[in-house]
């Protein structure tokens, strides 16, 4: 199991489009990927689940990944958050 902390860098928070990109990226891996905010833990492959976290700009989230490709998954997902899903500042 690997884990890492990420911060929401999008100024609009995690909206539906962003949630969908996160879920798509997560679904490429076989590992079980959980994302949590405080005590709430959600399956990162579920778009409604991710959206329901209601994570606004600056929220800290924790990724917990378990499976054969956990390292790759963590790298890819952390990078996605770091460069705001390859988006500009306000999108």
């Amino acid at each position: 199991m690997v884990s890492g902390k990420v911060k929401v860098t999008n100024t609009k928070g995690i909206h539906l489009r962003l949630a969908s990109e996160l879920v798509k990226a997560a679904s490429k891996f076989r590992s079980n990927i959980m994302i949590s905010r405080d005590k709430e833990e959600i399956n990162a492959k579920s778009i409604l689940g991710v959206a329901s976290l209601g994570a606004e700009f600056g929220t800290e989230l924790t990724l917990k990944i378990e499976g054969e490709d956990e390292r790759d998954a963590l790298n890819v997902l952390m990078r996605l958050f770091e460069d705001n899903f390859s988006r500009g500042e306000d999108s």
Binding site: I42, K45, S46, L48, G49, S52, G54
Partner: protein
């Protein structure tokens, strides 16, 4: 799950409903409320300190107050001081009774908040326990779809993209009711497991290829439910010929949800298989079992009975050669 409830927070959440007033200026307690049970410390007042459940919310009702009034002032102070010989989270006076004279100074000295309700003691204890029960109830979140099928709460689970939402949608289309899709919030009340949708996700669904839909908008109020007791977990797995699938259903299989054994069926799926009908049959068969009718057991018993009667006939005919 919450393990601690600060008295301050408890007061803010419930002051109106329980008609509470704060008697001490500060509601900061040294220890928080840690469980749903309450205690009436009548015996502790008399000096019998065994089984004084001091960590619980302490309720002073008419019995306790009337007893204190029978004592002379010095004895009364001693009796009240006994309450504070152990750490307390808070004291609540019921029925709007007058506080014993020594209570407040001692409470402030020991950092114990004192509240008072105008509700009747028994009525208040029932309401309080119910509210604390809910606060301390174990909760979790599960990935799956919860549908009320003929009144039976079926939680459909399985790996991502196996088709849980599609089955839930199919069930809704056949007149059953969706409780939650994808993320199910679970709370345990006693031995009962209740599932509901996340508040701002209620009745939204994601269907691959379509995107987000809202079941209540499309199918109307009859297709939606806010919460439902979970009675059966239907676990979907890809058909695997090497796996040992249940063929008779004589044995009960369960899965653990928050410490409660919930009936679980593992259903193999493959393209073109109609899981919706199977889900309906699971619900109906579950209801029959609740009524004491079990098809697998009945057939098993019939087979045993037939063999018994065959044996008797054979025995009768054994030397019957004409």
């Amino acid at each position: 799950m919450s393990n601690e409830y600060s008295v301050q927070q408890f007061f803010e959440d419930n002051a109106e409903e329980f008609k509470l007033e704060a008697m001490t200026e500060s509601l900061e307690s040294r220890i928080p409320i840690t469980g749903p049970d309450v205690h009436r410390p009548a015996f502790a007042l008399t000096g019998f300190m065994e089984n004084y459940l001091h960590e619980r919310v302490q309720i002073l009702g008419e019995t306790e107050i009337l007893y204190l009034r029978t004592l002379d002032p010095a004895e009364q102070e001693k009796a009240v001081a006994r309450l504070f010989s152990r750490p307390l989270c808070c004291i609540i006076i019921s029925k709007g009774l007058d506080l014993p004279p020594h209570l407040l100074p001692l409470a402030m000295k020991h950092g114990v908040p004192v509240l008072r309700t105008s509700m009747q003691t028994t009525e208040f204890i029932h309401a309080l326990t119910e509210s604390l029960d809910l606060y301390f109830a174990p909760t979790t979140m599960l990935h799956g779809s919860l549908v009320d099928v003929y009144g039976v709460g079926l939680l459909i689970t399985g790996r991502s993209a196996i088709g849980k939402s599609e089955i839930a949608l199919d069930l809704v289309e056949r007149g059953h009711r969706l409780v939650a899709d994808d993320v199910v919030e679970i709370v345990r009340k006693g031995k009962i497991i209740i599932g509901r949708g996340r508040e701002h996700l209620r009745h939204f669904m994601e269907i691959r290829g379509i995107g987000i839909i809202n079941v209540m908008d499309i199918f109307g109020i009859r297709a939606a439910r806010i919460q439902k007791r979970i009675e059966v977990v239907v676990r979907l797995e890809e058909w695997d010929p090497s796996k040992d699938w249940d063929r008779h259903g004589l044995d009960e299989h369960t899965t653990d949800v928050l410490g409660v054994d919930v009936r679980q069926l593992v259903i193999p799926i493959f393209p073109g298989k109609n899981i919706t009908v199977i889900a309906e049959v699971i619900a109906l068969n579950h209801m029959l079992k609740v009524y004491g009718i079990d098809a697998a057991k009945r057939l098993d018993q019939q087979l045993i009975d037939i063999q018994e009667s065959d044996k008797k006939t054979r025995k009768y005919l054994r030397y019957d050669v004409e």
